[in-house]
């Protein structure tokens, strides 16, 4: 036996390769399988929605469907009014909800005395657990009549009612994630700013919020996703008229409401058109997540 082969034999003895660590392998596979469930679900749902929605795109034409202004099944399947109302209601909810949420997060993370934070935080977390049908009922009984009185219009089931309900619904998501990312900042940021003579409020707005922006963006994106996807509460307060809304004081129908309202009775191309509404919704969510990745490309705390 030559010396080289002897050395090789010794090397083999040292390596544990012969004997698989089955426990290690099992957990590796378990983690992999868990991670794959999410991926598999989104792929299956995507494939299914495209499969079901494509006949409508073929029948009506992509442009007629996406830019059509009239929804008259079984003749016309234009979903532009619903795309517009989804965008308007979501944007409105973000404009109203996000500033309130960020200020609340700052209050909880920086300013609130402990006893008060211990009241506010559970209240906010409780808000996240309220089912959307309850939000819808609250909107129908409180917000809709209030809008009728304030704006003196015959029916309060309007985009504005939807915006207010959505703004409240996205609060817990944005608050919780923003607060967590504010708390995760290294204390030196705040200490440094204060040591340089900056006031507390100046520190909050010029140092802490910019430093935590990546987490805040994530919170906002999740909030937007919740607002785009919300269905039940919106059906109850927005009036669901499939016409192009002229102002936020008119009823309108969102993409999700369109699917939910007509799914139970639709057949053939009509049902397929509802799935293509789902495709458009899916595209929105993909665009949203892509823009989030773009905004967060330079990671900070």
């Amino acid at each position: 036996m030559s010396t080289t082969s002897k050395a090789r034999a010794q090397g083999l003895q040292l390596a544990p390769a012969k004997n698989y660590d089955w426990k290690e392998l099992f957990f590796h596979l378990l983690f992999l399988a868990s991670a794959m469930i999410g991926v598999a679900s989104v792929t299956t749902i995507g494939w299914f929605v495209f499969q079901e929605g494509l006949p409508a795109f073929k029948e009506a034409g992509v442009l007629n469907l996406v830019f059509g202004r009239e929804w008259l099944p079984p003749a016309l399947y234009g979903i532009l009014p619903m795309i517009m109302s989804t965008l308007i209601s979501t944007a409105g909810a973000v404009i109203i909800g996000v500033p309130i949420a960020i200020l609340t997060a700052v209050f909880l993370a920086e300013l609130a005395p402990k006893w008060l934070a211990n009241i506010v935080r559970p209240a906010v977390e409780l808000l996240a657990g309220i089912p959307s049908v309850v939000y819808g009922f609250f909107g129908l009984i409180i917000i809709v009549p209030a809008i009728e009185t304030i704006f003196n219009i015959p029916a309060g089931n309007t985009i504005l009612a939807g915006i207010i309900v959505l703004a409240i619904m996205i609060l817990p998501t944005v608050i919780t994630i923003s607060e967590t990312s504010l708390r995760a900042l290294p204390p030196v940021y705040k200490e440094g700013a204060l040591a340089l003579g900056a006031s507390h409020i100046y520190t909050v707005f010029k140092v802490l919020i910019p430093a935590a922006r990546s987490g805040i963006f994530t919170g906002v994106a999740l909030g937007v996703a919740r607002a785009i996807g919300e269905t039940m509460a919106i059906i109850m307060v927005m009036g669901n008229a499939p016409a192009m809304p002229g102002s936020i004081l008119e009823p309108a129908r969102t993409l999700t409401a369109n699917i939910a309202m007509e799914m139970s009775y639709a057949t053939g191309i009509h049902s397929s058109a509802l799935y293509s509404t789902g495709i458009v919704l899916l595209v929105f969510i993909v665009l949203l997540n892509a823009s989030l990745l773009f905004l967060n490309r330079k990671r900070s705390y």
């Binding site: 929804w71 029916a155 499939p242 007509e262």
Partner: protein
Amino acid sequence: MKKVIGLLTAVGLMVSPLVQAGTVTVSGSTSVAHVMEVLAENYQNTANKNVEVQSTGSSAGIRAAKDGTSMIGMSSRNVKQSELNSDTKEIVIARDGIAAAVNNANSVTSLTQTQISKIYRGEINNWSEVGGESRPIVVVTRENGSGTRGAFEEIMKLQRTVNGHIVTAITPRAQVGNGNGMIKTIVANNPYAIGYISLGSVDSSLRAIDVDGIAATDDNIATGDYQIARPFIVLMDKDAPRNAQDFIDYILSEDGQGIVASEGYIRVK
């Protein structure tokens, strides 16, 4: 062990059609299925025979009865001659009225069919045009494809043709509610709203208006004076099995018609 399971499955598969043969299969209109399920349950309790009810929509129900995929088909609209073959029997088991309803605070008590039709087309926009106070009309409708909406559009001639398809003529600005309950809530909370719901769902929270001067009552629908009504029809082949015929006889019996009435629909016998 595997062999035993396999054998049991095979035996089960062979036996199950024999057991199933006693079952009466019913499919069709979602509105009729609602009362049919209650009838089936009571029939099972009294006669101890199985009835299977599927709600698939009127058109599918008519087709199922014609093809023989179901013993009995259900329809909540009038059946066209072209949809039937000569062997299919049509039996009306109940009638359902559709009430045009307004808020209790509304002073308008009566409208003509033409006025209601114009309101839903968006041609009349103010209550003052039909004898009420000068306030805009809030039009509330059901979602596309709903049986109640289909019947309402058909009776009130709220249909038009676009690209060779019959589509709704109801104004797209109308508020849409999914379900009788939703329409009721909107109309009950809005003094300027008008909606239409199944007559069985009308209660004190809103008020059914007279159409062409005739009140929406069970008696007026039974006599045919009140126009906004639809028949609940079952379709059956002439040579349908005995137990299907028995079930229909039960529906038309005193017990069956009592259930129809207690569910809020109008009896035919």
